[in-house]
């Protein structure tokens, strides 16, 4: 599974790095570093009012915030593996 986290200017200002850190910690916690490839992307083209855009394989998710991250990780990462 490839997870691209948007680091374009718009998402960057809404906390891309926090989401990157949360992803890194969650992958480590579940020992999934081998199964999920994390990468950055300059703009996924879905700039949102709130949160960061994350693309999981071919599906784009918008509005990911630190608060919503645990639920997002369970539903769209763990569940899809």
């Amino acid at each position: 599974m490839v997870v691209q986290i948007c680091i374009g200017s718009s998402c960057h200002l809404k906390g891309s790095y926090e989401i990157v850190e949360l992803f890194q910690a969650a992958l480590q916690e579940h020992a999934l570093e081998e199964r999920v490839t994390l990468s950055g992307s300059f703009c996924i083209g879905k700039c949102n009012r709130e949160g960061v855009t994350v693309q999981v394989d071919d599906t784009v998710h918008t509005g990911i915030t630190p608060d919503g991250f645990p639920a997002f990780f369970e539903t769209y990462i763990l569940n899809k593996l």
Binding site: I5, I7, G8, S9, S10, H12, L13, S16, Y17, V20, F23, Q24, T37, L38, S39, G40, S41, F42, C43, G45
Partner: protein
């Protein structure tokens, strides 16, 4: 508000705008020969002796707007018929000579080149004169002036002479493509080649960024440009042109600052590699110092490489203040990463070719780089960033002694000293243009406010340190 410093820039812009307009419409090949007449409808000449010469010169400008002579490797080219063959007689006595009694000019002349006619007016014997200028300095009426061509005066690397017809001639073995002559020639007879057609072609063939994405990488100098609009509006305008997104070259500068400070601490002496004019100058004049040039790519190439690593299909167009970048992107080690380089002049022409009024647009955002990456745009910024890079990476034991060279003449002096082992510094920041990139020939405007604009833009950065700015890039 005026968009350009000089009327020459405006003329060049009008040609670029027309070429771009036809290219977007797919009618360039059909209508290219109409452009001179569109721009000079006549019947009265406004620039030269007649409208026919005006149109002939415009036809040459159209050629340069379309990439110029591909056989000539230099990105800077002379339009011979536009050259006014300015006098270059050196020191001459003007009508302001009063025929005084003091004759200080005669006394100071080391070669006895000054004589007087029966009106007591001075004359310089050109067979004896060595152009030292002593006479001009002592004349109380400032009656002796130095006739030097503006292009030659601007060209501190002495690459310009004249051909058999007295038109300017560029020695490509000396030229560093800085564009100083392009900006200074009052007749617009020297110009940088434009690659706007390459950029338009990339955008069009990408079919709305569906087939591949076209990224615009913009130089931090942009903060001192387009003063008639807000920076965020310029960013939106660039996207409206069809670019997928806009990325700061300053983030590449943060990456360079981190890597270059480590390289410096390891090697003990370095010269910067960000300015392509400076690097070309070392290559051509101080080849023995080439091993000291930082092995880092420039910020433009560094961020573009990152873009192509994360999106292998990406196409990258750099937009900046610099004509020498057009030469840099042709280099073997850079060409895989950057597909075309444009100037701010050309960006303005592109906006207007599509009739985009950026002042009415919403403000987009441009924010990834730190203060330190952004201040690369002005002289001194690079050295400041390297000092910060050393500090952030715990390399403070290395005692940084930088020398920031403002313009190619200061670069020459520092390199000369280094070649003789007389330089009391361990890092040379070389900027070919006076002021740094904000003095670049491809800037729309050059003014005293530009430096403070860059500093202000730097302070607005969301990320405060180099480490903060680049941490997100290493997320794998």
């Amino acid at each position: 508000m005026r968009k350009f410093d000089t009327k020459i820039q405006h003329l060049k812009y009008k040609v670029l705008r027309e070429v771009a307009r036809l290219a977007w419409e797919g009618k360039l090949m059909e209508k290219v020969t109409d452009i001179p007449e569109t721009l000079v409808p006549g019947p009265k000449a406004t620039m030269r002796c007649c409208i026919y010469k005006e149109r002939a010169i415009l036809a040459k400008r159209v050629g340069l707007a379309m990439g110029g002579n591909r056989e000539n490797k230099n990105v800077i080219e002379v339009i011979s018929i536009a050259c006014d063959e300015c006098p270059m007689g050196g020191y001459e006595v003007t009508g302001a000579c009063r025929g005084c009694l003091a004759h200080r000019c005669e006394d100071v002349c080391p070669r006895g080149a000054i004589t007087f006619d029966d009106q007591q007016k001075a004359h310089i014997d050109k067979t004896k004169c060595v152009e030292c200028g002593a006479c001009a300095k002592v004349c109380p009426f400032s009656a002796i002036t130095n006739h030097k061509r503006p292009c030659q005066n601007a060209c501190k690397v002495k690459a310009i002479s004249m051909d058999e017809n007295k038109a300017a001639l560029i020695d490509n073995d000396k030229c560093i493509a800085c564009g100083a002559c392009v900006y200074q020639c009052p007749f617009g007879a020297i110009s940088d080649k434009s690659y706007i057609l390459d950029a338009i072609d990339l955008i069009q063939k990408g079919e709305n960024n569906q087939k591949y994405k076209v990224y615009a990488v913009v130089a931090p100098t942009i903060s001192s440009q387009f003063a008639y609009a807000k920076l965020g509006q310029v960013i939106t305008g660039i996207k409206e042109l069809g670019f997928y997104t806009v990325v700061e070259a300053a983030l590449g500068a943060d990456m360079v600052a981190a890597a270059e400070s480590r390289e410096l601490a390891e090697k003990g002496f370095l010269t910067s590699s960000c300015c392509p004019g400076f690097v070309a100058y070392i290559e051509k004049n101080f080849p023995d110092l080439m091993p000291f040039v930082s092995h880092n790519l420039s910020p433009m190439a560094t961020i573009s490489r990152y873009l192509k690593e994360t999106d292998p299909d990406a196409r990258v167009v750099f937009i900046g203040p610099c004509t020498a970048k057009k030469a840099e992107v042709q280099k073997e080690e850079v060409s895989p990463y950057v597909d075309a380089a444009l100037t701010f002049e050309e960006l303005q022409a592109l906006f207007d070719s599509r009739e985009l009024d950026i002042t009415t647009m919403e403000e987009g955002v441009l924010d990834n780089a730190s203060y330190f990456g952004r201040i690369f745009a002005r002289c001194g910024g690079l050295a400041e960033a390297v000092a910060q890079g050393l500090k952030e990476q715990g390399l403070e034991d290395f005692e940084l002694k930088p020398v920031s060279c403002d313009g190619i003449e200061e670069c020459r002096v520092a390199l000369l000293k280094k070649s003789k082992n007389l330089l009391d510094a361990n890092f040379i920041e070389g900027m070919a243009c006076v002021g740094g990139c904000i003095g670049g020939a491809g800037c729309l405007t050059h003014g005293p406010k530009d430096k403070s604009q860059v500093d202000k833009y730097g302070k607005e950065a969301f990320e405060k340190t180099i480490t903060d700015a680049i941490r997100v890039l290493n997320c794998e």
